[in-house]
Symmetry: C2
Subunit: 226 residues, 2 copies
DNA sequence: TCCAACATGTAACCGGTTACATGATTCA
DNA sequence: TGAATCATGTAACCGGTTACATGTTGGA
């Protein structure tokens, strides 16, 4: 888990409470990382028990007391250490791709509708990203971290690029599906090919053994384990 | 969870065992979905208890008995139903982006090394994808599902496009970081700006209230819950 | 009057991974 | 002899989400 390191990263900017960390998360890294308070609080405790942060209770009369966490030297070096280590490949899990993978089970209209819906989502998301840019600039200026804003911007850039690529892919996919002969789908939406599984597995085994190594699968590319 | 629907999708091609499902997963959807046997077996049981699949034990003398699962009419209609529903936006969790976000904490060399490492991963992955294309073609031809192969191919295309976009982004990021003045990073790797958190949160609150709505965050774009 | 913000948490659940268990057969 | 394949599972754990609990203050 790298929530730990996300918390350390923010605490490196200055001491703060779990509640404040949640706010920062929501308005700065929400596009690639979500964190609930119910996960932040125990994680802070854990960081404390590992000596990576220190906690001081600030008594308050009118509001609940605040527990202010400060990063320690150990915490700082753990952070830098982690940041410098290369990251494992992200293992993805994309329900939309399952829908596309089995697209032949449904009609042209059904599958393209799903794709068009995704395009809408991506456009909306990119619009939000654009607004996010100005938020980052204003925030960085207001808080005096212009240097840091350069990197914050990079994480937005990659999201935008990703979404643009997805949109282009989806648009092309819709076009290609539209061009497909109607007979391609059969008359019934449940008209999908069947296969002899024993034979299929046989073929896969053969293909696999013909492959150089690692064959065709997403994972395994210098895993190091964090 | 859509492992359920992934299993249904494959069982729609023909009756098979958990062991065989695992093989198919590993050689066809591994690039966007992983499934362990220890998860497949209980999920099949669950599908059975929901009446979406049926199980028959095939006794074997020399090997352990096989439990062959067959999709039911209910299962088929649940599959088609699910496939036709638009997918929620993928919620992502990208450790690499945390590293970039806090890139100002480390040196130019450290952060660019991390990015170069990611580029290597992506290139290797795309090479695997290319091999994957021919696997899909051979497999589809061998098993007589050419129609379906069109959609299988689409799921590889999107992976390739994504990776290409990431590579371009990372290359540009490295260039831009390299061009940064050394003073940008300070002399010490731990030289990172600090901020007045109370003030930062104040600014965020103000920016948030100025924003139209939903402000800047990745989620929330017509969630429907599966 | 009622909801949002402040501020902290616990407990149950959920999807998924890792490790462990069993036991025969086949191939290097 | 020892690893890989066939074939099934259970149990512990892990990161994360949802729901629930508590109690004050300030604003619509």
């Amino acid at each position: 888990m790298s929530l730990k390191h996300g918390l350390l990263g923010f605490l490196n900017y200055g001491p703060m409470t779990g509640y404040e960390l949640k706010k920062l998360f929501d308005t700065s890294v929400a596009h690639f990382w979500n964190a609930e308070l119910s996960q932040i609080y125990p994680t802070l405790k854990q960081l404390e028990s590992e000596g990576l942060v220190e906690m001081k209770v600030k008594l308050q009369a009118d509001r609940p007391n605040r527990k202010v966490y400060t990063i320690t030297d150990d915490g700082r070096s753990e952070l830098v250490d982690w940041l410098s280590r290369p990251a494992d490949p992200d293992q993805v899990r994309e329900p939309l791709m399952i829908k596309v993978f089995f697209g032949a089970c449904v009609s042209k209209e059904q599958i393209t509708r799903v794709l068009r819906h995704r395009i809408e989502q991506l456009l909306e998301m990119n619009a939000r990203y654009e607004r996010g840019c100005s938020v980052i600039q204003s925030f960085a200026a207001g808080v005096g971290l212009n240097r840091e804003a350069f990197f914050w911007q990079l994480t937005i850039d990659v999201g935008v690029k990703h979404n643009e690529a997805s949109i282009r892919w989806a648009e092309e996919a819709i076009e290609r599906i539209d061009r497909l002969d109607a007979s391609f789908f059969g008359t019934s939406p449940l008209h999908v090919g069947t296969m002899d599984v024993r034979r299929a597995v046989e073929i896969l085994d053969r293909l696999k053994s013909e492959m150089p190594e690692g064959s065709f699968s997403a994972q395994a590319a210098g895993r190091t384990k964090e």
